[in-house]
């Protein structure tokens, strides 16, 4: 066991945990934030995607002890009200989720993509958003990312 200090959504959390425990389970079970999901445990499905210093990361394969001082953002911390990040706005507009279980991960992966590439092409989206959705919401995810890209264009810019 080790005492870790994790910065999650701007708050410092002290946890007493085996440092080999995957970040996913520390977030879910020790910190109690359950928006980040378990889907496969082997970084295949992306349901556990969080941001580490802004980069989309599959938290099921990251030992909590290796995170150090990196800033962790989970779905609960993406926007202050849970609905105002351009990705969330676009997701609501396109009615993207079906069962919704993968959507925390899809949204976190898409938000990181948008931060890195404000105007992603379809190929960028296919490369960067590789999370599994068994309900099959991919068509709407793609459309919603393009909408979110438009939403983030400054008012003076081209729509």
């Amino acid at each position: 066991m080790a005492k870790l200090k994790l910065s999650i959504n701007g708050t410092a959390h002290d946890v007493d945990v085996d440092p080999d425990t995957p970040l996913l389970w520390v977030i879910r079970e020790w910190v109690g934030l359950t928006g980040t999901k378990y889907g496969c445990g082997i970084a295949q499905c992306g349901a556990c995607t969080v941001h580490l210093d802004g980069a989309a990361t599959r938290s099921c394969q990251i030992p909590a002890g290796s995170v150090g001082e990196a800033k962790i953002t989970t779905i609960e911390g993406l926007s202050p009200d849970g609905m105002s990040h351009p990705i969330q706005v676009a997701w609501l507009q396109h009615d993207v989720p079906q069962c919704g279980y993968c959507q925390s991960g899809q949204i976190m992966a898409s938000a990181a993509l948008l931060a890195a590439k404000p105007h992603p092409t379809d190929a960028d989206i296919a490369d960067m958003v590789t999370n599994i959705c068994r309900c099959g919401t991919y068509q709407r995810i793609k459309a919603a990312i393009h909408t979110a890209a438009e939403l983030t264009v400054p008012a003076t810019g081209k729509a």
Partner: protein, 717 residues
């Protein structure tokens, strides 16, 4: 239940999940009491602030039934959609009320179509109560009052009262039973593509799925089940892991599994991996996929076979045919792989059981919990959560039984059981393995005169519901091929039969069930016949559909929308397919290209459905798009194989499913012909794979008859 502030945004965006989750701010207590909802019959409550809460008995697993059912009730109630929210009926309430809310099971695309009569009557009854309450208040005849958008209006005087103002009085009345529902022309919400009611909390991470339940004093359990189906637990050495972090208990679960209970689930999982376990793998430990394949192959020519339907004389028809064509098709087992792994939380205390579930059948969850706990049905409480995927898997209650068995050994504390993905993948109720031998007789002009479709497939009914076997015949296996569903009834000599070949592998209902396999068998073979006779695949089908105008209308609609017969970019080819199932008629045209090396790209699929009445066109389109991802995964890469009696694939690295990069553009054409209520969640899934396979043939000249495609070489000159 928790009340939520009735700000418009939250009303339109919110829904209450079984976990007692509430969106927005909680009302102060006094105000909450003031706004207590009034029951208007069993299907709707209305609060003083005009909030209309519609009760949902079916499960919500992404298919949108919760929203569609709310539309049905709200339409009859003349509710203002902006004020509508939903709540789940609990299984214990349904039990206590002698199933007043009907069947809670959610599968077979029945969520809407099997509820449509009674939920609409429930809405109409509530509306009648509001009208009567308003009329009484004004001292006028009810017949002079009309309703719209949460308001009762006395037409002659123009007086108006909001539903919220009438609810208390209306709730004192007896719900009328002789209500009439609206005609389609009177619908205001049915047919509108309103947005889902459950989206907002799926974007914020705040929705509590069953796997997210957190309760005071809760412990967590990880489970290992005998890897060979039918095998038993022999022994385990708990002492070896008792000292590991967090471990509290190591318990046998039934006769085939062992669970570790720990403070945290990850500790339970880690300890379980270190637990020495001895299994009695039993007689199935030597079975492999090759043996199963041979077992099914033998069925293709077996004398004994159950009959789906027969007319004319196939023996004479084949004997007199100018050309005889035969082909054998083969489909593997498939897993559901819901993204939320199997789980259940249970508490056993004072002879009572409480469970928190992700279930397609709340009634069955309650019954399973009672049986596993050895308690009366009346001593069980079930908290239904929105499912993280169902697809048929969550009609089965095995995780519920296990959680209760574990909880009974740790009384007084809630136990959350979560299966690892590996347990989930290797302990499913798989889509049955199936083969078909298709035999056709054609006359000298290339007309199809005789068709014999012989299935040799594992039976879902034999495994899950033997009472549904009719004289050894599993009618479920013939989905799409029964007299009521089959689209080529004009074929003069027809026989469809099934030599059931069961295995030790558990099988169950998988989205689209047998229509998946049967549509590939039939639609690819019909395509083979069209090409063999040099006829256009669309025209060839049309010639066989003279007795099936509804099937034909959908086929024509997609052909027109897809521009069948018009030029395509170089290298792009089309394929077509049609089917009927779950009460709806469906068809698709796929456009694909295959590089000379054999790399497949699916560019576009135009899909059509006639579901009779279309409750919510937007959600229908979402179901069509989504079901294609599920069906195409099985076409492209997914398969479950068996070695040493157990499932070979353990996770998404070996059971590969489709990702965004492979998603074609899907265009949904809804051609609702009216007069019936057809299913939506499943029917269309069946036509994407055969349409793609037929397009692959057009592109490569290669006829793929064994799936998945990842085993096939599609390279071509």
């Amino acid at each position: 239940m928790a009340q939520t502030l009735s700000r418009r945004f939250f009303l339109t965006a919110s829904a209450v999940a079984g976990g007692g989750f509430s969106l927005g701010w909680s009302l102060p207590k006094a105000q909450a009491a003031e706004n207590a909802p009034f029951e208007l019959g069993i299907w709707a409550t209305i609060a003083a602030d005009d909030t209309v809460t519609i009760r949902i008995a079916r499960s919500e697993m992404g298919q949108g039934t919760m929203t569609g059912l709310a539309q049905l009730v709200a339409d009859e109630l003349d509710a203002d959609w902006r004020f509508v929210k939903t709540e789940f009926v609990t299984p214990e309430a349904n039990l206590a009320a002698k199933r007043a809310w009907g069947d809670m099971s959610t599968g077979g695309s029945r969520g809407i179509r099997a509820s449509v009569d009674y939920v609409r009557k429930g809405g109409a009854a509530a509306r009648a109560m509001l009208v009567q309450a308003g009329a009484a208040k004004w001292g006028v005849p009810a017949g002079e009052c009309v309703t719209a958008l949460n308001v009762v209006t006395h037409t002659p005087s123009g007086r108006r009262l909001r539903y919220g103002e009438l609810a208390a009085d209306a709730a004192k009345l007896t719900p009328p039973t002789d209500v009439k529902v609206k005609t389609p022309a009177e619908w205001t919400l049915i047919g509108r593509g309103v947005k889902r009611l459950d989206t907002a909390e799926k974007l914020s991470g705040k929705l509590t799925y069953a796997i997210d339940v957190q309760l005071p004093n809760m412990l967590n359990a990880a489970i290992a089940q005998c890897p060979v189906f039918g095998g038993k637990l022999k022994s385990f050495d708990a002492a070896k892991i008792q000292q590991m972090p967090g471990v509290r208990h190591v318990v046998a679960v039934d006769d085939n599994a062992v669970a570790v209970v720990a403070d945290k689930w990850f500790q339970a999982k880690t300890a379980l991996a270190a637990l020495p376990i001895v299994w009695d793998e039993g007689p199935n430990a030597k079975v492999d996929s090759q043996q199963i394949d041979a077992h099914l192959t033998a069925g293709l020519d077996a004398k004994e076979a159950g009959l789906a339907q027969e007319h004319g004389d196939i023996v004479a028809g084949l004997a007199g045919a100018a050309t005889k064509i035969e082909a054998v098709y083969s489909m593997p087992f498939q897993h559901h792989a819901t993204l939320e792994p199997m789980n259940c939380t249970a508490q056993f205390a004072d002879g009572k059981v409480e469970v928190w579930v992700s279930s397609q059948n709340g009634d069955a969850s309650l019954a399973a919990a009672a049986e596993a706990g050895g308690v009366k049905l009346a001593d069980v409480k079930v908290h239904k959560h929105i499912l993280g995927g169902g697809f048929g898997r969550r009609g089965q209650q095995d995780p519920v039984k296990q959680a209760v068995i574990i909880a009974k050994q740790v009384p007084g504390r809630p136990i959350k059981l979560i299966w690892t993905r590996e347990e989930d993948m290797t302990h499913g109720f798989y889509r049955p393995i199936a083969k078909a031998k298709m035999t056709a007789g054609l006359d000298a002009n290339g007309n199809l005169t005789t068709l014999h479709a012989r299935l040799s497939a594992q039976s879902i009914a034999a495994y899950l519901a033997p009472q549904r076997m009719e004289n050894g015949v599993d009618m479920i296996a013939f989905q799409g091929w029964t007299k009521d569903e089959f689209g080529y009834m004009a074929i003069p000599n027809l026989r469809i039969d099934d030599a059931v070949r069961n295995t030790h592998v558990p099988v169950g209902f998988w989205r689209g069930v047998n229509t998946n396999q049967n549509a590939i068998f039939m639609e690819c073979f019909i395509d083979e016949l069209a090409h063999a006779t040099g006829k256009d695949p669309l025209d060839f089908r049309r010639s066989l559909m003279t007795k099936n105008p509804k099937h034909l209308a959908v086929l024509n609609a997609v052909a027109e929308k897809a521009g069948w017969g018009t030029p395509l970019p170089k290298g792009v080819h089309r394929g077509i397919a049609q089917n009927a199932g779950f009460g709806s008629y469906v068809a698709a045209v796929a456009e694909v290209s295959v590089s000379p090396k054999g790399e497949l790209a699916i560019h576009r699929i135009v899909a059509g459905t006639d579901c009779g009445y279309a409750v919510n066109p937007e959600q229908i389109a979402a179901q069509v798009e989504g079901s294609f991802v599920y069906g195409l995964s099985a076409l492209l890469t997914s398969e479950i194989t068996i070695d040493k009696g157990r499932v070979v694939q353990t996770n998404f690295d070996s059971y590969e499913v489709m990702k965004l990069a492979a998603m074609p553009k899907v265009e949904t054409v809804i051609v609702p012909s009216g007069g019936f209520w057809g299913g939506v969640g499943e029917p269309t899934i069946a036509v994407a794979p055969p349409a793609v396979l037929n397009a692959i043939f057009a592109a490569t000249g290669k006829r793929v008859r064994t799936l998945p495609l990842s085993h096939q070489d599609l390279s071509h000159a």
